[in-house]
Amino acid sequence: MTSHSTNTETAKQRSLRIPLDYVRPSRFQIFKAVVALIGSVIAFAYAAWLIAGSESARQQLSPGPLVAAHVSWEQKCEACHDNFSPLRADADAGTFKLLSGFFRRRSSAADPAVNSGSPHSPASSFDSKCQGCHMPPDHHHGEKSLSVERCTACHVDHDGKTTKIAQPDDQHCTRCHTNLANPVQSFSSLEGKHGHPPFRSLQNDPGNIRFNHQLHMRKGIPAPDTRNQGLRLMTVADLLANVSPAIANQLHRPPGISIAEKPNANAPVELQCSSCHQLDTRQAVSPSQDAEQFDSAGAYMLPVRYEQHCQACHPLYYEASHTKQLQHGLVPGEIRESLVGQFWSNRRVSPGNIEFNRSASARRIPGRNSDRLSAEAEQRNLTELMLGAESYLLENKVCLKCHVYAESKNNETTQGLPDVLPANIPKVWLEKARFNHRAHLAINSIQCETCHASALSNPANGQENKPDDENVMIDGRDKCMACHTARTNEDFAVQARFDCVECHRYHVIGAY
């Protein structure tokens, strides 16, 4: 690369060109010092501005924008932060305790966690600022105190205004639930060891009501024909005849008939899902257990009521003329009293004066003993009526059509009419999760039969016709995962969230 001509100047000669007092800063060194000085001044100025603590300076310290709900404290760090009292769940409490003591500032006089230096102190002691506004209930009575995390363990702020701070990552849940008796790793992993387990509350039907959905959903429900001793299709007129006018107005009308129109009295009865199941549109007014479960209007269904949904087809006649019905929901003792009441009301005698009249009728009046006989006859009549009613109820299985008799040790005083087991149909079937019918029905591709197909199984189509009291008419986990999954689904046009908090809550009212 280089070609040098003959250089006659020696190194010694070259060195003599350099004066001995050459040690002086060059221009470059001076420039370097000036640049360093400028950098220092700028850095000092920035630091001074930060320490001065103006609102805009505080913005420099924030690791990110606050969630929209907290934006009013964007400029006020002290609203949530105490000096040298860490909010992050992974902060080392012992070290900060030393720091707070060094700087002679106490994060909180009543902060036993910081003062004790224990990293495993109850989480609530770190969360006093959060609990100033938020007071959620505990998670579970069986949760270990050492496992209770701080609020910030799951709810991370400074992550943007649109951050869903109330929707923590699944790992916060699976961190503990992976190690439980029924381990759960993620809802997205159906198969495998740590997929979401089947819904426990749907394993067994706790109800004690005999019911056949398939039969009731059939078009044209057969009913006994009292005239011809056979079966005939029930008509709308039959329904209206068995219920009060108020109930009649609430009865579902056959398809195609609007509210304003009167139903065709001769039309066969065809029930729909909504004939018996209506959404509960009430709004919760107080934080109660029911309110927690019914916290959203339309989330769950109203309980099925006999008077509204069953009486039209299943009147509680207690005699062959089918003119008199029992009130529903009575225990055997109350049935007797009801029968007595109806007897005497028909006789236009107050039930409370039976003894009085008897005693009055027992007085001997010369030539007039018929009153005493009348009272005894009436008592016999009453007894016969009651026995007849009980016999009719037992023989015709009026109660037993739907109910199951209880094996009670202490039978009611009424002979031969045992008590029945309580219906015990849960108001909410998914005990551990939240569900909203309205939100699901709002999706066009989801109908009742989407998740309750077993209620509409048709033996004619080869679908098994199982008795309802042995099966839960809710499809369960697999059906949920058709939409709530990470996988694309060709059957449904939607793909819903599948994170834990979509259905579950950590802070649960009345924790189970």
Binding site: P19, Y22, S62, R88
Partner: protein, 327 residues
Amino acid sequence: MLSGPKSFVALHLRWCLFFLVGTTAAVLWYAAHATGSVRWPGGGSLPGLAFGFIAGVIIFFECALWLRKTPWFRTRRWLGRAQLWMKAHIWLGLLTVPLVLLHSGFQFGGWLSYLLAWIFIVVIASGMLGLAIQNYLPRFMLDHVTTETVASQLDAVARQFLVDADNIVAMTCGDEQSSDILDQIPQTAAAPIAGTREIGARRRIGTQVARSPGGSVLYPQVRQVGELRRMFDTEIRRYLETGRCISGKLGGPRRDEEYFVALRKVVPPDAHTAISALQRLCERRYQLSLQARLQLVLQGWLLIHLPLSIALLILLIVHAYFALRFA
């Protein structure tokens, strides 16, 4: 740190192992602490605090290198050798990279920590660039700048070349300016030997000599050297003065050779000695220019590294205070 590959390994092997062991230990501890947690442990966690503290101490030590080089501490033997300090500066500085990364929890954070992180990155990058330059460029200069001189004296030496060239041309052309030029040369108490001209700097301090040993050269006056004067005034002088040739005919051994070969053809042979001297001066001037450019590269990265290091130190203190206060 001028060293070949083998000597580099010998010098830095232990420090390199220390760096690797330290990094591995930090990563393992951090990984153990992060196991089972949803988020990466942040700066407030136990490993985060430890790494932040260690990195901060190292950064303070890194800045102390400047103090070590000041006249107050430069000759203090009890501080250890400068080479040891430089090796510690390099490897501890590299160690701060994984420590800071783990301390941050792989997040930049707010504006202050964001700025601090980027300053840190630039400081590290400039430092590594400087390390590479400082190891490669001196060897390059040794091969390509054979007449290297003291960097701070480049301008002064170039001016001496100019004076020498003026003197040579004046003597060759027989100009009266030569006496004025001679006046520019610092005079000593000893009178110059008659019939000679002094070339080269005179020693002003220490043992005074009348002239540089062997530095007196006689350039006889030559006739018909107008072309020499013209070319000197238009190109050579400017080149010696500024180090740049507008026409591009000078600057580099090959160009100089071609230029002066052409010049020799247009001047009498008696002037070829002077022309050769001018050529040597031009080559030396090129060497000075090359050295200046290389010196700028060798030291220029400090214009970034040094001020940002100071800013890093200041902002580090601010960050530590506010991060601990509002953890």
